[in-house]
């Protein structure tokens, strides 16, 4: 009797799963058939791409049609850099990202179709990007190949190798370094082959210093890449996750040597007319590269080290004839260069002096804000003391709020949750305060299993989430507030699914009041300081996930029908379509597991 009841229950559960699965498939198919008619072509392309991927086997022949339609629609999406403020570094556009999506699915499902798309792309954009940012790849095609390689390198190193090799036709791009580094952890043999191909490419043409920087970073300084943009500006990018890895050169001394020989022959020993301004522009990145490689020459190519050093000294003397005094003036011993700490202290006191000396009140308050931001995150009492001098109540409060927000996130990242909790009430800006509390809540949940009193911890977490909700409901609806509320649902759903579903409906009401909303944006909202556009980048980003998908992820298996019904509450058809698709796609993926 008990056995038959259990079998009956199982069958009911199976039936429910099958019904939900068919519902999810139907939702995706219906949304994909509506998408080409939408005004928002970006949403349409996203839906078609995902639908093709998810229903490729389910609906034979339909997937490639959806991909072709998506590829066509992408031509109508903006190609402007996504963030104008960062265009010196990256110029990736929405169009580029959508293309990556289509090509990734095409590569997985129909290689011939992917090759056709890439061929079209190479015909449309045959040359190197003109206004390239320092960390852009060289062409539209290499951008796509390396992006897909990056996405596939963990799961399919062979495919990543193949794609990255194909990108070398257009030169050595910035993205290659990360692929080489990741590939090395999966398959050192493939990484070596890719490096050898890249070096062969370097040796055959007329390479530039930016190409050498990519290989140099891989060999000698994991996690660091120097890039040069179209205006000759050199910038440094750091990947903190790779910073502490052992340099590849240690285990590959012959490859390191081969690279140093190539750099010597192709760049350092090539005569530059540094007496002309044009020659200086071309020589300067070579000098930057050469100075970084001087230790490597001594270790791996000692025979070339003296010649390289002499040539570089000659370039340096020509480029910076009076550079000897730089960095020494404030030292007590004029001959001794300043230490890193002394340089930092000098910079802060110089910035503070500048603010104090500034006579114009508008420039003065901005200068104080900049000085406060330059202080190390953890030294927030000092930063706050500088910010208190800003003679503008609104800017002063905003700056102090940002400094405390930045410090609190830093403390959470360094497991000092209690200190961060103490700081939270002092943060005057509700959105920043909410993100800090969410990050604390997230941290508490993750430590729940190690706690002796998990009930107390849960209650503390729920209290924090209640405070977040109370704070944010008083705010005017905005993209930032909506995203933080989605982040809140994501955390809450791990404790109380019913409450999370109710909260999700409330967030949708907020989103419906907005002109536009990107349901897929997962990163923490930029709550930086407006007077310094790069300030946001100095704050840690909590790893919560602020997208619709993050919010529904913990609910989808247990509450699929409610989530699908909730998705119907979005008032804008494109947002509604994307929400439906996200829910159905997530359900199918989780159910497949």
């Amino acid at each position: 009797m008990a056995v038959s009841q259990s079998a009956g229950q199982k069958s009911a559960e199976d039936l429910k799963r099958e019904r939900e699965r068919l519902q999810a498939i139907s939702i995706i198919g219906q949304t994909a058939s509506e998408a080409p008619l939408w005004d928002n072509k970006k949403s349409a392309a996203l839906v078609l791409t995902d639908a093709a991927d998810v229903l490729w086997d389910e609906r034979p022949g339909q997937g490639s049609k959806w991909l072709i339609k998506a590829w066509e629609l992408i031509a109508q999406v903006s190609d402007a850099p996504k963030d104008e403020r960062l265009k010196d570094f990256f110029t990736r556009s929405e169009r580029t990202e959508l293309r990556t999506g289509v090509l990734t699915v095409a590569h997985k499902r129909d290689r011939k179709l992917a090759e056709k798309f890439l061929k079209e792309l190479a015909q449309q954009e045959p040359n190197e990007k003109k206004d390239r940012g320092a960390f852009d790849n060289r062409t539209g095609r290499s951008e796509q190949l390396l992006q897909i390689a990056q996405q596939t390198v963990d799961a399919n190193p062979e495919l990543a190798f193949e794609l990255a090799s194909s990108s070398l036709v257009d030169g050595i791009s910035y993205g290659l370094q990360n692929i080489l580094t990741t590939l090395r952890t999966r398959n050192p043999e493939l990484a070596n082959r890719l490096f050898d191909l890249a070096l062969a490419r370097f040796n055959t043409g007329q390479p530039d210093a930016a190409e050498a920087q990519v290989l140099s970073g891989y060999l000698f300084r994991p996690g660091y890449t120097f890039g040069v943009n179209a205006r000759g500006q050199t910038a440094l990018s750091v990947n903190p996750l790779q910073q502490n890895a052992t340099p590849v050169a240690v285990s590959e001394p012959q490859r390191a040597r081969a690279f140093l020989v190539a750099v010597f022959e192709k760049l350092i020993s090539v005569p530059f007319a540094i007496d002309t301004p044009d020659g200086r522009v071309r020589a300067q990145p070579v000098v930057v590269l050469g100075s970084q490689l001087s230790a490597a020459y001594r270790t791996y190519a000692p025979d070339l080290a003296p010649s390289a050093a002499a040539l570089l000294a000659q370039f340096t003397a020509g480029l910076y004839p009076e550079s000897d005094s730089a960095g020494k003036s404030a030292s007590s011993d004029p001959a001794k260069p300043l230490t890193k700490d002394e340089l930092y202290e000098k910079r802060i006191s110089d910035l503070e002096d500048k603010a104090e000396r500034e006579r114009n009140p508008a420039f003065k308050k901005v200068a104080y804000a900049q000085a406060a931001l330059a202080v190390k995150t953890e030294d927030y009492p000092r930063a706050k003391a500088i910010a208190e001098k800003i003679d503008d109540a609104e800017l002063r409060a905003d700056t102090v709020s940002f400094l405390l927000y930045r410090a609190a996130l830093f403390l959470i990242e360094n497991t000092q949750t209690d200190k961060a909790t103490e700081l939270a009430p002092q943060i005057s800006d509700a959105a920043r305060r909410a993100v800090v509390r969410l990050a604390v809540a997230q941290r508490l949940i993750s430590t729940r299993s190690q706690s002796n009193d998990s009930a107390l911890l849960e209650q503390r977490t729920l209290d924090l989430l209640t405070e977040v909700e109370r704070d944010l409901t008083k705010q005017d609806p905005s993209n930032k507030i909506a995203r933080i509320l989605l982040g809140r649902v994501a955390v809450l759903a791990r404790l109380d699914k019913d409450q999370a579903l109710v909260s999700l409906q409330n967030v949708i009401q907020v989103i419906n009041k907005l002109d536009s909303f990107d349901l897929r944006e997962t990163s923490a909202p930029d709550l930086g300081l407006s007077v310094a556009p790069s300030a946001g980048a100095t704050a840690s980003r909590p790893r919560i996930g602020f997208s619709f998908r993050n919010a529904i992820d913990p609910l989808i298996t247990t509450n699929f029908e409610q989530v699908a019904a909730t998705a119907e509450r979005f008032s804008v058809k494109e947002v509604r379509g994307l929400a439906r698709l996200e829910a159905a796609k997530l359900y199918l993926r989780q159910n497949l597991k």
Partner: protein, 211 residues
Amino acid sequence: MRKQLIISLLTMLVSAFACAAQSENLRRQTVPTSATIEIALVDAPGITDYESHWQAAYEIRIASDAAIWDAHKRNESEILPVGEIIKQGSFNESLRTPAHRRVVLKVSFSPEIQARLKDQPPDSVSPKMTTAQSRDIETRRQNLMFRSVVEIYDGKLKKNIIVPISTSRSLFNSSEDPIQITIQINAAGDYSWNSSRTRGRESKEIIRDRD
């Protein structure tokens, strides 16, 4: 997705050095007698709100390539504004009409500055120069430097948005076309600003030559 942190813009070559190739037509240098800077607020959520207004403090300076380059080498470019002030001031306007959303600042160059501008050497005479000759060009080539702090009160957002602006233009063979700065504020209160080409006629022509 790779997480990256850009920690430092290490080396910034001043734009003046970027254009060295000289074509014959560039030798006929024109000397501007004045400079014009137009600042326009093109969009903001409360741009038509009667409470919205904007104000700015600004400085216009003149600086040689050498001064800019030296300040950069001493790491002082973020600390001290480079060059000598030739005009400073402020404005305060409502945003009632499109005309109120556009401010034109004009500075006439004194005879002494005009002489300096006239003295800017064309460097196309000799294909190869010595360091001293190159330094001489840097010392004599002049740039217009503009910095401003624009504050916009958006009546709809009920918020004051502060926009620090800094831009420059080479005055070698420069036209008197205005430097156009446009500011936009989005629904979230985030701003972006853009300036028209920061170099004068020279760079446009050279870019065309290179194309």
